[in-house]
């Protein structure tokens, strides 16, 4: 059976990787495996903004998708942006094979608050599910509780749930079934 692969970009805390692996397996109902980490994405660094272009990372990590891979999710500590947006928590191409999330702005420390691993894991799990949802063709949902609803800031990440709304869940399940068991 095809699997979702998690690709750590640089050093990522094992408890974060494990939590994401468990939740992805639950939500997407496909096996999830963690790949060996690769180096920090220095190739995507944009000196003018002191940030990293997520689209460049997406292109690079697509190559790490194993033959039995359904999707690959990159996880990085660096702060991500796109040419048009000041920052992104993550990025994925609609119906693409790769997604990436950044932990930088999900950390309490980014907002001058004391570190909190539980909060970080909770946010990282939601963003991982959100971005992978895009790779299965889901677009932003108007239900603010749905995990694929648009989150322009960390407060809205905290506000939404870590599950898809019933409609998005149905679309997702159909898509995954089609991919795993093509007619």
């Amino acid at each position: 059976m095809k699997s979702i692969y998690i690709l750590p970009l640089g050093e990522i805390a094992p408890e974060i990787l494990t939590a994401i692996k468990t939740e992805l397996t639950n939500v997407f109902q496909v096996p999830t495996k963690i790949l060996m980490p690769v180096a920090n994405p220095s190739y995507a660094f944009e000196p003018k903004r002191c940030q990293y272009y997520s689209s460049k990372i997406l292109k690079a990590i697509s190559q790490y998708l194993p033959h039995d891979g359904l999707r690959v999710l990159g996880i990085t500590e660096v702060d991500l942006c796109t040419p048009v947006l000041t920052f992104v928590f993550g990025e994925a191409l609609l119906d693409g094979v790769a997604a990436v999330i950044s932990l930088a702005r999900l950390r309490q420390e980014f907002y001058q608050l004391p570190a909190n691993m539980a909060i970080l894991i909770n946010r990282a799990v939601k963003e991982a599910i959100h971005e992978l949802g895009h790779t299965f063709g889901l677009v932003h949902c108007n239900d603010s509780q749905c995990v694929i609803s648009f989150s322009p800031n960390v407060l809205s990440v905290d506000h939404k749930g870590s599950n898809f709304c019933p409609l998005c869940q149905e679309i997702l399940t159909n898509r995954i079934v089609e991919m795993i068991e093509p007619k």
Binding site: S55, T82, P83, V84, L85, E91, L94, H140, P152
Partner: protein, 450 residues
Amino acid sequence: MDRILVVDDEEIMRESLTDWLKEDGYEVLAVEDGFKALEAIQKQTFSVMLVDLKMPKMDGLEVLREVKRLGIETPVIIITAYATVDTAVAAMKEGAYDYIIKPFNPEELGLAIKKIIEHQHLKKENILLRKELSKRYQFQDIIGKSPKMQAVFELIRTVAPTKSTVLIQGESGTGKEMVARAIHEASLRKDGPFIALACGALPETLLEAELFGHEKGAFTGANFQKKGKLELADGGTLFLDEIGDISPKSQVDLLRFLQEREFRRLGGTETIKVDVRIIAATNKNLLKLVEQGKFRDDLYYRLNVITITLPPLRERKEDIPLLITHFLEKYNIETGKRIEKISEAAMNILMDYHWPGNVRELENTIEHAVVVSEGNTIMPNSLPDFLKKKEPTPIDTSKSLEEMEKQHIIQVLKEQQGNISRAAEILGINRVTLYRKMKEYDIKIEDSDK
């Protein structure tokens, strides 16, 4: 799905914006310059345009200006990495919906687009509601919300189920044949034929042959038997247009048919009985023709069982916007264009004109405008030239000087809502004189409400 047009000369920006907007569920078209953008917006409708300010060939402000010139209402958001107060002010002055600096905060652009889209959905809902409402102002293909047209619709509904002969009076282009068809369609005869005959265009002998038909050899050139319109209309309706123009001999023939409901083909001996409802129409004052001895009074009374008088368009100007919307839809379908509205300036010109050719002339004007318009809005320059030269409303020369004075006083009083002082000032007479004239012509204040 809502569609967004992205205009940016940098490929990386186009890609990045496209990917982000697609995640939000929008359909996106991204083009690299203003020319391609202008081409695209004339081919399809977009909910929003995101236009980069600095581009070679044509910059964002020029694109914005062209969009406005074409009368396209798509909101334009100017995006730029080189923001200055001057360019921001210029963009807003040119009519940009917003001015956003690249890179954007994800919240900022997302909300701006959402706001526009929500506004447009409301607008669409409004248009649908209006369409629903406009159905009330339509009787088959005849349009009008004015009290005069509503009264016509009511009369059509009343007379349609009866067998009565109907006389439709009205100037050329007021839609007499459409009313005749509407009566037929709303009648019990609707499954029977509707036959129309323009009597005025035919010489006396030809009209006779057309109406009653002929046998083979009835006259030179009658090489075969031919059924007339009366026979063809059996079980249905025969519409006789321009009835005021038929000759005295034809008047006698028609009268005989109306009395006996039977006729013989030219050259024939067999009497043919038909069940035909006659609807006649004229743009002439038939009663006047009767008084002048040009039209038989007995025929007039036979035809004039029920009279429907269609008002000229200049007397029901409140129907013009409704008619324009109807003709825009019709000619959009015929020409494959997407003209959605008419500018205020163009509408003012159409409302000011006196429409001597009535609805037909208005329809031809809208067809012309749809064909020559470039954007999605009819602008004054798309209207035919004769409309732009203001012509005075023609004076009705059939009225006496006294009648004209009386009508003028009533009109001025009406426009001034019965205010005597203001009306007297406009008429250039004092209040006492105005009162005297009102008494003389038996004008009451309530007349000005009619």
